[in-house]
Symmetry: C2
Subunit: 244 residues, 2 copies
């Protein structure tokens, strides 16, 4: 156990820092050794060592070198404030990362469900997720995910096929100006409602969100899904449903 002052390598070994880091601290004026040998070698004395321990303590709490310097040099900033502000920043980071993790987990689920290999498909799914997050609340998305896994792939495919048949049929009725109260249209509306209820799990908020989404994103969705309901069609179906 040699006594101080120590050379940079010795100090590094004893504190677990790298020599480069100590050089860096010297460069930025965070820890400048009290002495130098005539040949320019750094010599750290006891007070330098203590300061380094303080630096290490503060760094362990994730405080930036800049703030460490401000804390140790000028007492102008209160430690308490620094800690509080830093804690707030850390909490922000945590929530941001937590959201990201949630999205990534959901994405992984979709990847499993859809047996996707291509990057193009991956991006489409991300895009769809992003769009949906704009219209559905967090809870609603959780409900939809739960339903997705519970009903199973085959049923989902069947539902998609039925929509692919139902929407054009409804469109033809509208184009032909058929009375929404007519038995044929009401029958279509009944199937429509059944599909919607199955999708939403009876949550009317989800149904509304879907309509809002189609309203705002109609053009974009049409390109990707083929046939999609228009706002006019929602109104038409709504009238037909009054006669269920």
């Amino acid at each position: 156990m040699k006594a101080p002052p120590w050379k940079v390598g010795e100090l590094a070994k004893r504190t677990g820092m790298s020599v480069r880091a100590l050089h860096h601290y010297d460069e930025i004026g965070l820890l400048q050794p009290a002495l130098r040998t005539p040949t320019g070698h750094r010599l750290y004395d006891a007070s330098d060592i203590q300061r380094l321990q303080q630096i290490q303590s503060l760094r362990l709490m994730g405080i930036s070198l800049d703030e460490v310097k401000r804390l140790l040099d000028g007492a102008a900033v209160s430690p308490r404030q620094v800690i509080d502000m830093h804690l707030a920043r850390v909490h922000e980071q945590i929530t941001a990362h937590a959201r990201l993790a949630e999205r990534l987990t959901a994405l992984a689920l979709h990847l499993d469900a859809a047996a996707i290999g291509s990057v193009d498909d991956l991006c489409l799914i991300i895009e769809a997720m992003t769009t949906m997050e704009k219209y559905f609340t967090h809870d609603q998305l959780a409900v939809l995910r739960e339903r997705q896994t519970s009903v199973g792939d085959t049923r989902i495919q069947a539902v998609q096929d039925e929509w692919a048949e139902l929407i054009p049929a409804m469109q033809r009725a509208m184009d032909g100006a058929v009375d929404p109260a007519s038995p044929d249209v009401v029958a279509l509306a009944r199937r429509w409602k059944a599909l919607v209820d199955e999708f939403t799990g009876g949550d009317s908020g989800i149904g509304k969100a879907v309509m809002t989404m189609y309203e705002h994103e109609g053009a974009a969705l049409k390109e990707k899904l083929g046939n999609v309901p228009t706002p006019a069609m929602f109104a038409y179906v709504g009238r037909a449903m009054k006669h269920l």
Copy 2:
């Protein structure tokens, strides 16, 4: 709604990116516009725009530009792997930040309790916390924090004063080679046990951790706390306790 190809400013406005970011993507070969005007102005065509959308999607998931490039260019890496590995990284970050937040919160508590203003004291507390985390488990630390708040400052001070009296007394008994079974020493041991029990809340693991800590950190603690028990003293007290 002008049709593509678009100039960089136009693309930036429509996608919400900055012109500089698009320049950057060009520089690193992530998104190089299909065309340039004879004077060098970038012209992005439809496929460029689609690629940019994919880039934005992947970036929204927190994927680095480098990995985005690898994903979009060479299909050599599977999307699924990338997502999984990225998710793992994010989870690591979350746990690291969560630990940090926990430490900061505990630190804020100590600051409140000790009415600390100086940076020196702040660092001492951090150092103490760091040391204790090496010897106590997470649960044990939670117990100690809980006990700290429940017993109150005045009692803590009283306990410290009693230790300050008890330890030298025990040391004198040891120095005088007094039989640990003697009534005086047993009486001291009784007080000792009461203090320990109050501190540990009856958790024997905590008591052992304290002993291990004093054993390893004896010298460092002695400087800061004044008189501290030595391993020999623990043994002596242990023998005395057999006669309680």
